[in-house]
């Protein structure tokens, strides 16, 4: 049987349009002038927009995309970390690329043992080498544990009034009576695994369920919680 599709990763070279001014008229004038010098070169050229100024006017991105189309270029995405711009880009159907922090990446590769540096670069790149955060003592009432950008493993109890939060998965080898938040940065693939569930609340990527809504049969032994179509799904293991 012949292959119908194949999904593969590929590194492509794209042109990046850096924008240093928030004055659209000025940008338009300069850009039009530039394209006029070599119209063939710019024809159907895929472009990633990278604004270097913020904040931009709400209509700036839309106007710029329209201008690029007029000039026969192909805007495909935006490289930014600005939440407002990301929202506009998604609305306009553009891909969002993470800005590259050159210094952080270099540090990461050169000196992986340096944990504080690695932590500072965690925001820009995923750092699977960091591993899960391990907590071996009971998380007590009033205490909060946050595993930023990684998984969390608790090998003791989570007592009532305690909170455990992770951007990744959460594993609890013990009784969980407090609140559990997995995928707290919006990761909908995050899952929760609990040896004995009696939590006040479980939450994945902002979708939560309170204790009284959790069926008793899931409070007997190992249970897995995941998110399927905006609903928390419980599976006995």
């Amino acid at each position: 049987m012949s292959e119908v599709i194949a999904l593969k990763g590929s590194v492509l070279s794209l042109s990046v349009l850096k924008v240093f001014s928030d004055d659209f008229a000025k940008v338009k004038a300069v850009l039009t002038n530039k394209v006029a010098q070599a119209p063939d070169f710019f024809k159907a050229l895929p472009i990633v927009i990278e604004p270097e100024v913020s904040p931009l006017a709400p209509m700036f991105l839309a106007q710029l995309v329209e201008l690029l189309h007029q000039q026969n270029m192909m805007p495909v995405g935006v490289r930014t970390a600005d939440p407002q711009l990301i929202e506009q880009a998604e609305y306009a159907g553009l891909a969002v690329f993470e800005p590259v922090k050159v210094s952080a990446e270099k540090v990461d590769k050169a000196d992986q043992a340096d944990k504080s540096r690695a932590a500072s670069s965690a925001a820009s790149a995923d750092t699977p080498d960091q591993g899960a955060l391990m907590v071996k003592t009971a998380v007590r009432s009033g205490q909060q544990v946050y595993a930023k950008g990684r998984d969390l493993i608790v090998t003791a109890a989570i007592n009532p009034g305690a909170e455990v939060v992770a951007d990744g998965h959460i594993h609890v080898y013990g009784k969980a009576k407090g609140k559990i938040f997995a995928g707290s940065n919006g990761n909908r693939q995050a899952r929760i695994f609990v040896q004995q569930l009696d939590a006040e609340m479980v939450c994945i990527a902002g979708l939560y369920q309170m204790a009284e809504d959790i069926k008793p049969e899931y409070k007997q032994g190992w249970v897995e919680i995941c998110l399927q179509q905006d609903r928390l799904v419980f599976n006995l293991l």
């Binding site: 003592t137 007590r140 009432s141 009033g142 003791a156 109890a157 007592n159 009532p160 009034g161 305690a162």
Partner: protein, 270 residues
């Protein structure tokens, strides 16, 4: 080298001061030199329970603020040798205490050759309670067999593990002990109180002992006598066990089961 022991609970009215008084008296009876400090500035009670309220000249705040020496302020107990009380001030508030001041007092007591310094913490988790536990080497967490008390004890255990001097400086952690007071096996059986096993399981620290609920405790407190010094009552026996276990003796837990009144007792009252 003096060991500093904080008696704490989070919640109020669970028996911290009663436990401090009896625990200190029990250790002193064993021959140790013991000082017990009332950290509940503004609501002093320890001196009442120890029966020395009319002998307070200088108090803890006076010493912390350098207005009196530790020797002037320590009140020697009249019943037990080697037992000294440092009363709280009734007229000041908890802001009168400072961390350095408290540290200085504990240093002075160490220099004076005390074996144990018992810090009777105020209720709550604010400044007063945090000062009482800051210098602790060991903690006696007093809990009643009810949900709110257990929750508050859990909270205070978290604070012991995060905000004590030992935690901040990365030393060996504070040794934690649990004392379950006001335990009533009848009410546990009726489901009105948490069972000992449930409390121990949740707090997950070593149980030093269970003190049964009894009128004798109130009576002893009202007459200014640490209940451990009252002969022939169950609460006194319980506190003696607690002191023995603290000092390393292996004793089975008592006062956990329902007491069946004998026919004799039924006929002739108590």
């Amino acid at each position: 080298m003096a060991r500093v022991i904080v008696v704490t609970s989070g919640k109020g009215g669970v028996g911290k001061t009663t436990t401090s008084a009896s625990f200190a008296a029990g250790l002193a009876q064993k021959g140790f030199k013991v000082a017990v400090i009332d950290f509940d500035v503004g609501l002093r009670n320890l001196d009442l329970i120890m029966g020395c309220e009319r002998r307070v000249v200088y108090d803890f705040v006076n010493v912390v603020q350098g207005e009196a020496s530790i020797k002037q302020a320590l009140i020697k107990d009249k019943r037990v040798d080697n037992l000294f009380i440092l009363a709280a001030s009734q007229t000041r508030d908890k802001d009168a205490l400072t961390q350095e001041g408290v540290g200085k007092v504990i240093e002075d007591l160490r220099a004076d050759g005390f074996d144990y310094v018992i810090c009777d913490s105020p209720a709550g988790i604010e400044k007063g309670a945090q000062l009482a536990l800051f210098y602790a080497d060991e903690a006696v967490v007093v809990t009643n067999p009810e949900v709110s008390s257990v929750r508050d004890s859990d909270r205070i255990l978290g604070i012991l593990q995060a905000k004590s001097k030992r935690a901040i400086e990365g030393d060996d952690p504070i040794v934690e002990h649990l004392v379950l007071t006001r335990y009533n096996p009848n009410r546990v059986q009726a489901g009105e109180m948490l069972a000992m096993e449930d409390v121990v399981e949740l707090l997950n620290i070593k149980l030093l002992g269970v003190v049964p609920e009894s009128e004798d405790v109130l009576q002893a407190s009202n007459s200014g006598l640490p209940v451990i010094l009252t002969e022939g009552v169950s609460a006194s026996e319980a506190y003696k066990d607690i002191v023995d276990r603290f000092l390393g003796e292996d004793k089975p837990q008592r006062f956990l089961s329902v007491e069946h009144k004998s026919l004799f007792k039924k006929w002739f009252g108590k």
